[in-house]
């Protein structure tokens, strides 16, 4: 069981959270100007790294706020959790 530190609520069991996937994916400001390949890259392509991973989590059964997590995808060790700056996704 992962113990995840919500930046607002403190350490809670993983069952209170939902994982929102890779951090730092920003919706393109002007989708109409993108090629199909660029749009597909934004929509579907993921880093999916083996090792350090920056991701977004939501404290869905708690305060319901989003925050950032740095987690290792092999050891599952969480290096840190942090509040997101307004308008930022990483």
């Amino acid at each position: 069981m992962l113990l995840i530190k919500c930046p607002w609520c403190g350490e809670r069991a993983e069952t209170e959270f939902s994982c929102g996937g890779e951090a730092g994916i920003t919706r393109p400001a002007n989708p109409d100007s993108l090629t199909d390949a660029e749009w597909a890259d934004y929509l579907f392509m993921r880093k999916n790294p083996r090792g350090a991973h920056a991701e977004l989590w939501n404290h869905s059964l708690g305060c319901r706020r989003w925050f950032g997590v740095e987690r290792d995808t092999v050891t599952y060790r969480i290096a840190k959790t942090y509040k997101l700056s307004p308008g930022k996704t990483d």
Partner: protein, 415 residues
């Protein structure tokens, strides 16, 4: 040595000292016509069909661990072809047809047992979806039928078909040709058969880089040195993104642990395969008597071949909802395999922007059933440098064109 009743008898009479290794352990050569990265079932099947159907003789399969140590030996062994969409169902049905002759073809008993697979419906909407899928399957020439709760009660006596159940079972779809196969034997059988056709199976050989020159793949760097190749097929399941990044490609997959569990061995209690979307679990009984149980993927991405505790609890809840009688069965083992899940829950069997580099990935939670078919179409794709009509729709380009094949939820089990 050809395996037969006669060879069994002869070896029994000579105290079983005459058995030889099932495949060689050769040193890697400097250069191959085709290198397959990944010695799982799909990779070995690809090499086998490349040699058998396309006459390619100079092939190596590179496996970072040992044969049968990855997802091929980490699944719940279910084989079925009752997918909803035509593209998917025809691909899985090709695989089913190969399964039906596989033991004879490989001269290796893969213990393919067509004991039927039931997909349960717990709500009216489940039953509508089941009827739609059964009709779609039949239009594609795939056997499928709808069965009622009364029929289920008769054929699977321990299944909780009480209307008072928390999630009452209303009916099910049944594919009678579906079933299970012995997963290790599939890996070993393909390895042995490929080896017999001259394929070099090189274990303990991890690929660390993909060499390219002028937009073309030229070989791989490995922990056992540089190996050149005209063509490289990558079939590494959960590690597809890691290999793709070596060639600066991006894939639309995310890797998750998928767990499976076996119980202590019991006397025969379950002679078929039961899957339920609504409570999300699936169960069969192995020939050794263990209950083989599977459920959903872990909620977050991961490469650790172990699962999370909440997922174990969820799987057990699901099985006990279906079979309260198993509440005192003790679980024996659990393990995790890393599955690469695609946004549309369908595989990618495709050429890539790099010439001579091919990827077969994204099978997600359902790759085992496709082992022979996946190898068969991937071998065609590599040999001919173009997809077979069965895997044309499973191109990487579909994420640009939008022609996704949405089997999430449609494919008889939630992903």
């Amino acid at each position: 040595m050809k395996y037969s009743a006669f060879s069994l008898l002869r070896n029994a009479l000579s105290h079983n000292r005459g058995w030889r290794e099932a495949w060689r352990s050769p040193e890697p050569k400097k250069k191959y016509d085709v290198i397959i990265v990944g010695g799982g079932g799909h990779g070995l099947a690809t090499a086998y069909y490349l040699a058998k159907e396309h006459g390619v003789r100079n092939i190596a399969v590179l496996e970072k661990g040992w044969i049968g140590g990855g997802n091929t030996g980490r699944n719940t062994t279910i084989v079925r072809s009752n997918y909803l969409w035509t593209e998917a169902s025809l691909l899985y049905e090709k695989s089913m047809q190969l399964w039906e002759g596989l033991s004879q073809d490989l001269n290796y008993n893969v213990m393919f047992s067509q004991r039927g697979v039931y997909n349960l419906g717990h709500t009216l909407q489940d039953m509508r979806d089941i009827e739609r899928r059964v009709n779609a399957n039949r239009l594609n020439g795939i056997d499928a039928e709808v069965v009622s709760a009364a029929e289920l009660r008769k054929s699977i006596p321990y299944l909780n078909t009480s209307p008072d159940a928390r999630y009452p079972i209303i009916g099910a779809s049944l594919q009678r040709r579906a079933g299970v196969a012995r997963h290790d034997a599939v890996a070993w059988g393909f390895a042995r058969a490929a080896d017999k056709l001259g394929v070099d199976i090189i274990e303990q050989c991890e690929v660390t880089g993909i060499n390219r020159a002028g937009g073309r793949a030229t070989g791989v760097e490995t922990t056992r040195g540089t190996i050149e190749a005209d063509k490289i097929g990558v079939v590494v399941a959960g590690h597809a993104s890691v290999l793709a990044s070596m060639a600066e490609l991006r894939l639309p997959v995310e890797s998750h642990p998928l767990q499976a569990y076996v119980s202590e061995p019991l006397k025969p209690v379950l002679d078929t395969v039961i899957m339920s979307n609504a409570v999300h679990g699936y169960i069969s009984q192995s020939d050794k008597g263990e209950l083989v149980i599977g459920a959903g993927i872990d909620a977050y991405t991961g490469y650790g071949q172990r699962g999370s505790f909440p997922t174990i609890e969820h799987a057990m809840q699901a099985i006990l909802e279906l079979f309260p009688v198993f509440s005192r069965v003790r679980m024996l083992r659990m393990w995790g395999g890393i599955v690469d899940v695609c946004p549309d829950a369908c595989p990618i069997i495709s050429k890539t922007p790099v010439d001579g580099l091919y990827f077969n990935c994204g099978w997600g939670t359902g790759g085992f059933k496709a082992t022979p078919g996946s190898g068969w179409v991937f071998a065609h794709t590599i040999a001919e440098d173009r997809p077979h009509e069965l895997n044309e729709a499973f191109d990487l380009k579909r994420f640009e064109t939008g022609a996704l094949i949405d089997e999430h939820g449609a494919a008889a089990v939630a992903h």
